[in-house]
Symmetry: C2
Subunit: 136 residues, 2 copies
DNA sequence: CGGTATCCCGGCCGATACTG
DNA sequence: CAGTATCGGCCGGGATACCG
């Protein structure tokens, strides 16, 4: 074991390799909250409270944590207004907007295919519970 | 705000609502292993062992678990050959292939922008150590 | 080969309370 | 308003061993 990851000179063009940069990017994106925050910011600059209200179920802690992560990776900017009460706005960077467009395609896909997946799950559930029920 | 499609029911088309089907779909996709498995199967039908070898770091348990989930949701089919030694092939369904195309765009994006994100992280790390804050 | 079964640890994440 | 602090549960998921 070694502390920290050694990406070496690999720019990581194979996400299947753990040592690849693209793999670590994936690890960030593979989060429900990251996805929702990025999508929420796609069409508008929003404040902390606005995000919290829009994203149902997120806690202040997770929201802050997610935003910090996105900020660290250069996907979101954090703009502080020195006023009282405090005002902080979050906005996607160009990089973030670029990504958001792709994530939004996933959302569109999810919306359009939700019925199919629901049916698939129902069928799977049927098959699983069927042996305890009738067998005609 | 919601593109004029705020149905607000459980069939819903607003992934920000926890009760929405599209939200649950997202919860499936928001997984590193799901992503990698789907992408691995994008170009080829593969066996369990082939997947395990291709996806670095995945354990048998997680691979099976992920495949079962994808099968349940109708994204992957599992074909068993009654031979000895056993042979099982996993293949994307049409639905799965459709999704895989989108996920592959994410991968392409990750590869292309990995350097930018690497730099952003380096800058963030610098700033954290220096604490010499100056806003623009 | 293609899985299951089991143990178990770390850390993710939710809940809540508090501060500037 | 925009966060931090803290605690704790639960479960994701790694390691390992074992079946058909």
């Amino acid at each position: 074991m070694y502390s920290g990851r050694d990406f070496g000179d690999s720019f990581g063009y194979d996400a299947f390799k753990r040592t690849c940069m693209s793999h670590t990017v994936l690890e960030v994106l593979a989060s429900k909250w990251v996805y929702l925050v990025v999508c929420a910011l796609r069409t508008a600059t929003l404040r902390h409270g606005e995000l919290a209200r829009k994203i149902e179920g997120i806690t202040p802690k997770m929201l802050t944590q997610t935003l910090r992560e996105l900020e660290r990776d250069g996907l979101v900017t954090r703009k502080i207004y020195p006023v009282i009460p405090p005002k902080v706005e979050y906005e996607l960077t160009d990089l973030g907007r670029n990504l958001a467009a792709l994530l939004d395609q996933i959302r569109t896909w999810s919306e359009q295919n939700a019925p199919h997946i629901r049916e698939a799950r129902a069928r799977a559930q049927m098959g699983a519970g069927e042996m305890a029920e009738f067998q005609s």
